[in-house]
Symmetry: C2
Subunit: 402 residues, 2 copies
């Protein structure tokens, strides 16, 4: 992956990079001619976004552009690479909107049928082949070295990308030994991957459900479960039962999709998942935004209404919510009062201490405070710090006013 | 209260008010010479705040200035009047900071002793005599016609203000028939008033506790309960017990004060009060900010920690919180699904329909959407609408995405 290879455009770029003025001219030209056109955004608009830091412009490392925010129809997390005279655009994974209520939303948003796939609780990953190398990007568009390595251990991606270089695999990294979002699934255990979308580079067009599932099956790649395809008028009742069962099994929820993937999908999640997220966040109350708590609480209200719960069920939901808030918060305050710091530890499997260090560097680049607590025989314990919770809790415990 | 009377300065002001230019010159002069000096803020600073609408400048009605935001040391809610050649400045009621923990905060913030007064759940009112008329201002500095009338029915204020024209009475309007914050207190019933501070006009200097209580007693004016005066090192334990008992009695909490009132007071409230506020807010979830929810939940965490609760007590606190969130929210969603709107009704006693209308107008001026639902024999039912909750809930119920 040497930048300076063969390509005249790139050579010019790198020759001029020491000279801001010439470099600038080149960049403007290049943006105008190639990237802006491929993205369908005017050169001026893109320039402005780069100046305002909404789009990051890399001078010497790949990719050349990373969209930190949405820019018109281009999703945040989009990355643009230049390889051998051609552009490679991997679009950001589109935000999936949520519904608080199943009926009448499903009938209003979809045509005659919906496909219901499981939504699993992990972290969103896009896998693509760029310059004949397989890379894995996290939601924000950063290449994660840990993920890039792991997905290739789980899956034979070479054959898929050799035949389908223009596709991006979108999926969820799952399991308890997953350094971003740790959640237990019996079929996953420590670490695993499930694919939910296959999309085209540049356009972000997703494959229809059937086509996607057939393709993935042909290449023996693991996908999320398809829980059923229902006529829209029956879907709400069916999904209610599915989500109830998923919740009882400690699973997250569903994504409701147009079988043709021409309409945007919608997500819907189980009460237990809301409580679990609240429980997790209240371990570190000052590190999570107020919007985080509020939105999850609102989901509970609408779901309880739609589920037409008995008095007992409603009480159970209320108590689950209250416990998810109070217990972790009191535990964290106690720990900090006894001199501890708010943190979470995950054990990841790596081949060397160096590989663990590389992952820590990646976390730092994302603005996450973390360190290697211990390394032994291919197991690294990563400790992540929730500084705001430690600092503010300590301040209140020492007499600071709210 | 005729503005145009006798005073040359005022005459000049009103003569010039039709002419923006001359008016402006006058205003600048006047602000510079009088108001700015009395407030201890430079003329330029005040001018800028008026331009930015942080301070409202009244041209033809009294008061002349109303501070909508803090401006340096001047509290929001401060109002400035001009009467007979002299300025009357009624400073805003200072924000009382909250502690999440009693120990070590009390020892850190106070000197040797603290006086503990009850904090009651109603709305904050400042009463003063301006131009020989008694007026009652709500927290934001608006003259409330209902409150102005009622406080004079409960209390003989004439004698107090005749002898003490330079004092401002700060207290809480309480009871169930109170149009802003309705809460039942056995000793108050429908409507009542309790005083917690007596402060000087212009400087906002509060009287020391003893002096204040003696003065109010001499004039037979009702004050909040003094629950004890304790040495700082014993106060935390004492207050824990007091607040626990207050909570069990459905009462709010305490304000902890320096007996000399030289240090700023601190407030601390009961778990039941937090749950009650959350319960109220979740009747109208989209009308009450996210901050409202989060801050109250945080209070519960720190209190549970400091109270060293048993497992049962902690579970009870968690369940109380969960129920306070879920029950009212589901009730409101149901009502809106059945075609209702989010609202609350209060019955207030007034002498005529016109008086009720006057109060509604005052609410409208504050930006509150309200109407008279019914008027009969001196009783007006006021309905207040929580529009954001109605609109957003309806939208979600009709298929809108979150």
């Amino acid at each position: 992956m040497d930048w300076r290879r063969n390509n005249s455009l790139k050579n010019f770029f790198f020759t001029c990079e020491k000279c801001a003025f010439t470099g600038r001219l080149y960049v403007e030209n290049f943006l105008e001619k190639k990237i802006a056109k491929a993205l369908g955004i005017s050169h001026e608009r893109l320039e402005r976004a780069i100046r305002r830091r909404g789009v990051k412009f890399y001078k010497s490392i790949r990719p050349v552009l990373l969209f930190k925010k949405d820019l018109m129809h281009i999703e945040s997390g989009t990355v643009v690479y230049i390889t051998d005279d051609k552009l490679e655009i991997i679009r950001g994974f589109p935000k999936i909107r949520r519904t608080l209520i199943l009926s009448p939303t499903i009938e209003k948003h979809f045509k005659d049928k919906v496909a219901v796939e499981e939504k699993m609780n992990g972290y969103n990953v896009r896998i693509a082949s760029v310059d004949s190398k397989i890379i894995a990007l996290t939601r924000g568009g950063y290449l994660c070295p840990f993920t890039t390595r792991k997905v290739q251990e789980f899956m034979d991606l070479e054959r898929f990308f050799k035949d389908n270089p223009n596709f991006v695999i979108c999926g969820e990294m799952l399991g308890t030994a997953n350094p971003y979002v740790s959640h237990y699934y019996p079929e996953i255990g420590k670490l695993g991957f499930r694919i939910f979308d296959v999309r085209e580079k540049t356009t972000n067009r997703p494959l229809p459900i059937k086509e996607k599932r057939k393709l993935l099956k042909d290449y023996d790649l693991p996908m999320v479960r398809l829980l059923g395809t229902f006529p829209v008028e029956k879907a709400a009742e069916k999904i209610k039962k599915i989500v109830k069962r998923l919740g009882e099994e400690g699973r997250e929820g569903v994504v409701i999709k147009d079988p043709q993937m021409e309409l945007p999908p919608i997500k819907y999640t189980a009460s237990q998942a809301h409580a679990n997220e609240i429980k997790y966040a209240f371990n570190y109350p000052f590190d999570f935004g107020r919007a985080f708590f509020f939105s999850r609480v609102i989901r509970e209200g609408f779901q309880a209404y739609e589920m037409k719960e008995s008095e007992d069920e409603l009480r159970e939901r209320a108590h689950r919510l209250g416990e998810a808030i109070i217990y972790p918060m009191v535990k964290t305050i106690k720990e900090i009062a006894e001199g501890g710091v708010a943190h979470e530890d995950t054990t990841i499997n790596v081949s060397s201490r160096k590989e663990a260090m590389e992952f820590i560097k990646h976390l730092h680049a994302l603005g996450v405070s973390a360190t290697i607590l211990e390394y032994k025989d291919g197991k690294a314990v990563i400790r992540r710090f929730h500084q705001a919770t430690t600092d503010r809790t300590k301040n209140f415990l020492e007499g600071g006013l709210y």
